[in-house]
Protein backbone atom coordinates (compact mmCIF):
# COMPACT_ATOMS: atom_id res chain seq x y z
CA UNK A 1 0.00 0.00 0.00
CA UNK A 2 2.97 2.32 -0.50
CA UNK A 3 3.11 5.29 -0.50
CA UNK A 4 -0.01 5.62 1.69
CA UNK A 5 0.92 3.01 4.28
CA UNK A 6 4.42 1.88 5.12
CA UNK A 7 5.66 -1.27 6.77
CA UNK A 8 5.14 -1.20 10.56
CA UNK A 9 2.56 1.60 10.45
CA UNK A 10 -0.31 1.27 12.89
CA UNK A 11 -3.86 1.72 11.65
CA UNK A 12 -6.88 2.74 13.67
CA UNK A 13 -9.83 0.91 12.19
CA UNK A 14 -13.52 0.85 12.96
CA UNK A 15 -16.24 -1.50 11.89
CA UNK A 16 -18.75 0.69 10.11
CA UNK A 17 -21.65 -0.20 7.87
CA UNK A 18 -21.10 2.32 5.13
CA UNK A 19 -17.91 1.45 3.33
CA UNK A 20 -17.36 3.55 0.25
CA UNK A 21 -15.25 3.31 -2.86
CA UNK A 22 -11.65 4.51 -2.25
CA UNK A 23 -11.81 3.88 1.51
CA UNK A 24 -8.70 2.24 2.94
CA UNK A 25 -9.81 -0.87 4.75
CA UNK A 26 -8.52 -3.84 6.69
CA UNK A 27 -10.31 -6.94 5.48
CA UNK A 28 -10.32 -10.51 6.60
CA UNK A 29 -8.81 -12.68 3.89
CA UNK A 30 -9.58 -15.97 5.61
CA UNK A 31 -7.10 -18.15 7.49
CA UNK A 32 -7.23 -15.57 10.32
CA UNK A 33 -5.21 -13.17 8.18
CA UNK A 34 -5.92 -9.52 7.50
CA UNK A 35 -5.11 -7.52 4.43
CA UNK A 36 -4.96 -3.78 4.03
CA UNK A 37 -6.28 -2.53 0.73
CA UNK A 38 -8.30 0.25 -0.87
CA UNK A 39 -11.90 -0.35 -1.95
CA UNK A 40 -11.88 -0.41 -5.72
CA UNK A 41 -15.56 -1.08 -6.22
CA UNK A 42 -18.67 -2.22 -4.41
CA UNK A 43 -21.56 -3.78 -6.28
CA UNK A 44 -24.77 -5.38 -5.00
CA UNK A 45 -22.94 -8.66 -4.47
CA UNK A 46 -19.22 -8.12 -4.37
CA UNK A 47 -16.37 -5.97 -3.12
CA UNK A 48 -13.15 -5.61 -5.04
CA UNK A 49 -9.89 -4.23 -3.68
CA UNK A 50 -6.98 -2.40 -5.18
CA UNK A 51 -3.53 -1.49 -3.94
CA UNK A 52 -1.93 1.95 -3.95
CA UNK A 53 1.39 0.37 -4.83
CA UNK A 54 1.11 -0.24 -8.54
CA UNK A 55 4.55 -1.80 -8.74
CA UNK A 56 3.37 -4.97 -7.07
CA UNK A 57 0.57 -7.35 -7.76
CA UNK A 58 -1.62 -9.08 -5.26
CA UNK A 59 -3.91 -12.02 -5.61
CA UNK A 60 -6.45 -10.07 -3.57
CA UNK A 61 -6.65 -7.19 -6.03
CA UNK A 62 -9.53 -7.37 -8.51
CA UNK A 63 -10.77 -10.60 -6.95
CA UNK A 64 -14.47 -10.54 -6.08
CA UNK A 65 -15.10 -10.79 -2.35
CA UNK A 66 -18.63 -11.36 -1.04
CA UNK A 67 -20.38 -8.40 0.57
CA UNK A 68 -20.34 -10.09 3.96
CA UNK A 69 -16.52 -10.04 4.04
CA UNK A 70 -15.29 -8.68 7.35
CA UNK A 71 -14.15 -5.18 6.36
CA UNK A 72 -13.06 -2.45 8.76
CA UNK A 73 -12.42 1.08 7.61
CA UNK A 74 -9.04 2.58 8.49
CA UNK A 75 -9.29 6.16 9.75
CA UNK A 76 -5.88 6.98 11.11
CA UNK A 77 -2.28 6.01 10.43
CA UNK A 78 0.27 6.21 13.21
CA UNK A 79 3.91 6.09 12.22
CA UNK A 80 6.67 5.96 14.79
CA UNK A 81 7.57 8.23 16.54
CA UNK A 82 5.20 11.22 16.19
CA UNK A 83 3.52 10.93 12.84
CA UNK A 84 -0.25 10.78 12.52
CA UNK A 85 -2.23 10.93 9.33
CA UNK A 86 -5.98 10.96 8.88
CA UNK A 87 -7.21 8.85 5.99
Amino acid sequence: MLPTIKHNDYLLTLKINKIKKNNVVVASSGDKKFIVKRIKDISDKFITFSSDNKKTESEFCDKKFPLNTNVNRAFLIYRYPFNFEIL
Binding site: L2, I35, K63
Partner: protein
Protein backbone atom coordinates in the same frame (compact mmCIF):
# COMPACT_ATOMS: atom_id res chain seq x y z
CA UNK B 1 0.61 -1.71 24.57
CA UNK B 2 1.09 -2.40 20.85
CA UNK B 3 1.96 -6.06 21.22
CA UNK B 4 -1.66 -7.21 20.98
CA UNK B 5 -2.28 -5.43 17.70
CA UNK B 6 -3.27 -7.62 14.78
CA UNK B 7 -1.01 -7.63 11.74
CA UNK B 8 -2.54 -6.67 8.39
CA UNK B 9 -0.57 -7.43 5.25
CA UNK B 10 -0.62 -5.41 2.07
CA UNK B 11 1.26 -7.94 -0.02
CA UNK B 12 0.45 -11.56 -0.36
CA UNK B 13 2.92 -12.64 -3.00
CA UNK B 14 6.45 -13.34 -1.93
CA UNK B 15 8.65 -12.59 -3.72
CA UNK B 16 7.14 -9.66 -5.63
CA UNK B 17 6.30 -10.93 -9.05
CA UNK B 18 8.79 -10.46 -11.80
CA UNK B 19 7.39 -11.75 -15.06
CA UNK B 20 8.83 -11.22 -18.51
CA UNK B 21 8.00 -13.20 -21.66
CA UNK B 22 11.44 -12.29 -23.05
CA UNK B 23 12.84 -15.56 -21.70
CA UNK B 24 10.32 -17.57 -23.73
CA UNK B 25 10.93 -15.41 -26.80
CA UNK B 26 14.69 -15.98 -26.67
CA UNK B 27 14.10 -19.71 -26.19
CA UNK B 28 11.73 -19.82 -29.19
CA UNK B 29 14.32 -18.02 -31.33
CA UNK B 30 16.91 -20.51 -30.11
CA UNK B 31 14.74 -23.38 -31.34
CA UNK B 32 14.74 -21.85 -34.84
CA UNK B 33 18.49 -21.32 -34.71
CA UNK B 34 19.14 -24.87 -33.54
CA UNK B 35 17.00 -26.29 -36.35
CA UNK B 36 18.98 -24.16 -38.83
CA UNK B 37 22.24 -25.49 -37.40
CA UNK B 38 20.97 -29.07 -37.64
CA UNK B 39 20.16 -28.56 -41.31
CA UNK B 40 23.65 -27.18 -41.93
CA UNK B 41 25.26 -30.48 -40.92
CA UNK B 42 26.30 -32.74 -43.75
CA UNK B 43 23.89 -35.68 -43.64
CA UNK B 44 26.49 -38.00 -45.11
CA UNK B 45 29.04 -37.24 -42.42
CA UNK B 46 28.68 -40.05 -39.92
CA UNK B 47 31.90 -39.35 -38.08
CA UNK B 48 31.81 -39.52 -34.30
CA UNK B 49 32.40 -35.77 -34.15
CA UNK B 50 29.44 -35.06 -36.40
CA UNK B 51 27.14 -37.43 -34.49
CA UNK B 52 28.19 -35.82 -31.21
CA UNK B 53 27.55 -32.34 -32.63
CA UNK B 54 24.17 -33.38 -33.98
CA UNK B 55 23.21 -34.93 -30.63
CA UNK B 56 24.23 -31.80 -28.80
CA UNK B 57 22.05 -29.62 -31.03
CA UNK B 58 19.05 -31.93 -30.67
CA UNK B 59 19.38 -32.01 -26.89
CA UNK B 60 19.59 -28.23 -26.76
CA UNK B 61 16.58 -27.88 -29.10
CA UNK B 62 14.59 -30.07 -26.72
CA UNK B 63 15.72 -27.98 -23.75
CA UNK B 64 14.88 -24.63 -25.37
CA UNK B 65 11.42 -25.83 -26.45
CA UNK B 66 10.84 -26.95 -22.90
CA UNK B 67 11.88 -23.53 -21.60
CA UNK B 68 9.25 -21.95 -23.87
CA UNK B 69 6.58 -24.24 -22.45
CA UNK B 70 7.65 -23.69 -18.88
CA UNK B 71 7.99 -19.91 -19.04
CA UNK B 72 4.69 -19.40 -20.86
CA UNK B 73 2.96 -21.74 -18.41
CA UNK B 74 4.27 -19.78 -15.42
CA UNK B 75 3.07 -16.44 -16.76
CA UNK B 76 -0.27 -17.87 -17.83
CA UNK B 77 -0.82 -19.82 -14.62
CA UNK B 78 0.54 -17.37 -12.06
CA UNK B 79 0.19 -13.92 -13.55
CA UNK B 80 -3.01 -14.11 -15.58
CA UNK B 81 -6.01 -13.71 -13.31
CA UNK B 82 -9.67 -12.89 -13.90
CA UNK B 83 -9.19 -9.26 -15.09
CA UNK B 84 -6.44 -10.18 -17.57
CA UNK B 85 -8.38 -13.21 -18.83
CA UNK B 86 -11.57 -11.18 -19.23
CA UNK B 87 -9.63 -8.64 -21.29
CA UNK B 88 -7.98 -11.38 -23.38
CA UNK B 89 -10.31 -14.40 -23.48
CA UNK B 90 -8.25 -15.93 -26.31
CA UNK B 91 -5.22 -16.36 -24.06
CA UNK B 92 -6.15 -19.94 -23.10
CA UNK B 93 -6.34 -21.05 -26.74
CA UNK B 94 -3.11 -19.22 -27.53
CA UNK B 95 -1.23 -20.85 -24.64
CA UNK B 96 -2.51 -24.26 -25.66
CA UNK B 97 -1.36 -23.63 -29.22
CA UNK B 98 2.07 -22.63 -27.91
CA UNK B 99 2.27 -25.91 -25.98
CA UNK B 100 1.32 -27.91 -29.08
CA UNK B 101 3.69 -26.02 -31.37
CA UNK B 102 6.58 -26.36 -28.90
CA UNK B 103 5.93 -30.10 -28.79
CA UNK B 104 6.01 -30.24 -32.58
CA UNK B 105 9.39 -28.49 -32.47
CA UNK B 106 10.64 -31.12 -30.06
CA UNK B 107 9.37 -33.96 -32.25
CA UNK B 108 10.71 -32.70 -35.57
CA UNK B 109 13.26 -30.46 -37.26
CA UNK B 110 10.86 -28.43 -39.39
CA UNK B 111 11.78 -24.73 -39.43
CA UNK B 112 8.20 -23.62 -40.15
CA UNK B 113 7.07 -25.11 -36.84
CA UNK B 114 9.71 -23.14 -34.98
CA UNK B 115 8.84 -19.94 -36.86
CA UNK B 116 5.21 -20.53 -35.88
CA UNK B 117 6.34 -20.93 -32.27
CA UNK B 118 8.16 -17.56 -32.36
CA UNK B 119 5.05 -15.95 -33.86
CA UNK B 120 2.74 -17.34 -31.19
CA UNK B 121 5.10 -16.47 -28.33
CA UNK B 122 5.29 -12.93 -29.75
CA UNK B 123 1.49 -12.80 -29.67
CA UNK B 124 1.56 -13.93 -26.06
CA UNK B 125 4.18 -11.29 -25.20
CA UNK B 126 2.06 -8.57 -26.82
CA UNK B 127 -0.95 -9.63 -24.75
CA UNK B 128 1.15 -9.80 -21.60
CA UNK B 129 2.50 -6.26 -22.00
CA UNK B 130 -0.92 -4.88 -22.92
CA UNK B 131 -2.27 -6.16 -19.58
CA UNK B 132 0.31 -3.90 -17.97
CA UNK B 133 -0.67 -0.97 -20.19
CA UNK B 134 2.66 -1.11 -22.00
CA UNK B 135 2.80 -0.71 -25.76
CA UNK B 136 4.87 -3.11 -27.83
CA UNK B 137 6.76 -2.81 -31.08
CA UNK B 138 7.93 -5.37 -33.61
CA UNK B 139 11.67 -5.41 -34.25
CA UNK B 140 14.04 -7.79 -35.95
CA UNK B 141 16.31 -9.50 -33.45
CA UNK B 142 19.94 -8.46 -34.14
CA UNK B 143 21.27 -12.01 -34.21
CA UNK B 144 20.45 -15.23 -36.06
CA UNK B 145 17.77 -16.25 -36.94
CA UNK B 146 16.96 -12.51 -37.34
CA UNK B 147 13.23 -12.99 -36.94
CA UNK B 148 10.68 -10.45 -35.79
CA UNK B 149 10.13 -10.17 -32.05
CA UNK B 150 7.58 -8.18 -30.10
CA UNK B 151 9.19 -6.10 -27.37
CA UNK B 152 7.86 -3.54 -24.89
CA UNK B 153 8.35 0.17 -25.48
CA UNK B 154 9.98 1.18 -22.23
CA UNK B 155 11.16 4.60 -21.03
CA UNK B 156 14.90 5.08 -21.09
CA UNK B 157 16.57 6.39 -17.96
Amino acid sequence: MFKDFQIAEAHCDIPCKIYDPAISQVAALSVVRLIDLLHEIDENDNSLKSIAHRSRLVIEKEAQAKIVKNEVNIIWGDYFKAPQIEAHPNVHTLVHEIMMTASKCKQDVIRENAEELVKKVNEFATIFWSTKGIETENVVCPYPPELIVSRPKLDSV
